[in-house]
Symmetry: C2
């Protein structure tokens, strides 16, 4: 049995080295979409793992290699950390208060591109490993890493890497690339992610824009047709009208409803700080709020453009129009199924002239709420945050968790160093240092607990 207080002391002793490693990682740009610093960052990560005695392997892909690493421990349990070494582009640069690749501490917050997503998390996992080893001499379970370089460009190679290396990646538990605390400082356990289908709808009704006076009553208008097509997809009741769209939606279980009933809902103050007059779905309980927010699929118009967008009047019929939209999917919907139904729907409604271009697909994925490690990971938090994790059966966002479930059958959980205000993908990305060290303490306890347990 391992003593939690000893773990915390080891973490405290290593503080300086950990901050140095975080600084080295965050100072190295690694922007996958711009091919900037990617090889250099991969080498930094490999060195950090090898220094710790991990056997590592670079798995080449058409773009950036994935890093596989393993360090055997006592016992037969295996923990897999999924992380990524690429980051989002830092633009718009003028909105950063300090340069994005020059890590800066202000008021207990650590600012850098990648501070949370995902270098802070990667360093958190490494620091937790160091602390456990320092206390125990060796790891109480086998620890594996899968660290990809293409997460910010939709993980195009990830499924292949997992499928081709499924024996090496086999594990009892996968700790996801991120974790957050909520507004009350409690750690959040997300057990699922919605899927995604991202499409661009476009059409052209005329060779070029033409005069709205002469032709307004004669010529087909691309903007009108796009409007009607979109309105045929979702009506003011917020219900998606594509036939069969909800067919494969699995309703929340009793246990889901019970867990969601204990979660705090977004407060009136938070909602109105976002400028919204109300939520689009009314609700009468926390369980209903979460059922609508994350257990129900959505369709969002993300962008829409046609014709004249400048100042003042221009009297034209737009020849072209387009919209970008995403569908967030829940089990057991699949992006292929929804894409197919969307196309059939448009054809059936008389919009065969609208071209549907698929820009992205992610499967929805869930870890069963009654998996025994869910409780274990949640309870590991108690000693750090004063309470066990709050368990969210699903989150609204999307991620490539499906591939891990499909090829490895592993349960996936979240625990980490972020909070809801971390500005991921935005200027001034940061973590709070207190959260960072709490994340390390929690991760160390998860390693210890999976390996056989912590002193009570």
């Amino acid at each position: 049995m391992i003593d939690g207080a000893e773990l915390d002391r080891a973490i405290e002793r290593n503080k300086e080295a950990v901050m140095r490693e975080l600084g080295d990682f965050c100072a190295q740009p690694s922007i996958s979409t711009q091919d900037l610093g990617m090889r250099e960052m991969a080498r930094l990560v490999v060195r950090a793992l090898e220094r710790r005695g991990f056997s590592t392997r670079m798995v080449e892909t058409p773009r950036y290699p994935a890093i596989l690493a393993e360090c055997r421990g006592q016992g037969d349990k295996k923990l897999l950390f999924y992380n990524h070494y690429d980051v989002q582009p830092p633009e718009p640069l003028d909105q950063w208060q300090s340069p994005p690749f020059q890590p800066t501490i202000r008021e207990g917050k650590y600012f850098a591109r990648g501070a949370m997503d995902d270098k802070g998390h990667l360093v958190c996992r490494l620091a937790a490993i160091d602390a456990v080893r320092e206390v125990c001499g060796e790891l109480p379970c086998t620890v594996k890493f899968l660290i990809e370089g293409e997460e910010e460009i939709s993980s195009p190679s990830l499924e292949g890497v997992i499928a081709d290396n499924s024996r090496d990646l086999e594990a009892d538990l996968c700790l996801w690339e991120f974790g957050e605390v909520d507004g009350e400082g409690l750690s959040m356990q997300y057990l699922g992610f919605r899927g995604l289908l991202y499409v661009e709808l476009s059409l052209q009704t005329l060779a070029r824009d033409c005069h709205s006076g002469i032709w307004g009553s004669l010529m087909p208008n691309a903007a009108w047709r796009l409007n009607w097509a979109l309105s045929s997809i979702k009506g003011m009741d917020e219900r998606i009208r594509i036939p069969g769209f909800y067919e494969r939606v699995v309703p929340p279980s009793e246990e889901d409803l019970r867990l969601m009933g204990d979660l705090p809902v977004i407060s009136e103050a938070e909602r109105s700080a976002m400028g919204a007059k109300g939520f689009i779905h009314p609700y009468s309980s926390p369980a209903e709020f979460y059922e609508k927010a994350v257990m129900t699929p959505s369709c969002t118009i993300c962008g829409m453009g046609a014709g004249y967008l400048g100042e003042g009047q221009k009297t034209i019929i737009p020849a072209k129009a387009f919209a970008k939209a995403d569908f967030r999917l829940v089990p057991d919907q699949t992006p292929e199924e929804i894409l197919d139904k969307l196309k059939r729907h448009l054809d059936a409604e008389g919009f065969g002239d609208i071209h549907v271009n698929c820009l992205g697909m992610i499967y929805p994925s869930r870890t069963p709420v009654d998996h025994p490690y869910v409780r274990m990971v949640a309870e590991s938090a108690r000693d750090v945050y004063g309470r066990s994790q709050r368990i969210y059966p699903m989150s609204g966002g999307s991620g490539p968790a499906h591939y891990f479930r499909k090829h490895l059958g592993v349960p996936i959980m979240t625990a980490g160093v972020g909070y809801l205000g971390s500005n991921i993908h935005a200027p001034n990305e940061h973590i709070r240092l207190a959260d960072f060290f709490n994340g390390i303490r929690h991760t160390a306890r998860i390693i210890a607990d999976l390996g056989g347990g912590l002193d009570g």
Copy 2:
């Protein structure tokens, strides 16, 4: 009585001087929206009129003066020419084959910004006056001009100028600022213009764009709401759904239908050259075609924008959305009435959060098809074009004709120097020189006919 052949010989003799005057006018930029060369152009016009013995007066307005001019003739008939001395900006400059303010002749075509709209027409009127005088010694009727400098910025001062000077502007016939020949080379007589209501609809549902995964099932989406609002205004049947929208539409008279039944419809070849698969309203006769094209109001989305318009995926809920739309109105609709009905409709449909900003208003206007001068002007064309004018009871476009009808009660007709390919408001604006001289010959005959007649 005046001899048409003599008029033509006089026009032929003055050819060089006319071309020089056209060149001087077109070489002088006069872009009202950019305040470029406006005073210089006004002075050029005043000098051209005074040289011809017209008494002229500058009527100051908040932006550019209107020029009023008069030259008394024999008899008591009065002809009013409405023209404008401002032009559209020439941009995009890189699409001009010769500089826009450096008039250039290529293959019988005269290229310059303003060649048709409206300097070619102004010079045409002056050249016709010169020819009539040369043949008759003096004008057979009084000729007046109203030449404004704000036509290309929606004539904000025109109604005031007309109302304040209605006695000076009183006339038996107003020749409109433009005229065109059709694809067969026949002159077109437009007896009416549709009105215009130009609005921008905009809304904001959030303080800023937010993440479509986390918030997609919760937060109101400005793009969706705009879509539903627009679809509530016009459906796929192309019928406008604003209650009472068609209430004041005057259906075509028997005479309108008879005249429209004789007009050529847009050919399949012309339609398909514009890239359109079909017209939005089916028709079974020329009269029905024109009834739908110009005697029925329309609503055109001219521009529409929300959220992310760049390449690839961005997963956001747009906080803001807007659309620009014009309504083309027919007698007896008014822009105020339609604006009011639009606002009531949006409120009633639950879109009280959509802001309606009115960017422009023009009244519809018609000259009665049985006015005796309609036939006279149409017949004046026979000697020039080999056939009388084709009479269009309405055109699809809009113009400030209503103010002339309202304050002066004058019938308004079109005859001039353009053709359907003149590229007005576009790069490479031009007139065909043959059309230019035919326009002068026709205008001279109109002056002669109003003054008492031409030799048969």
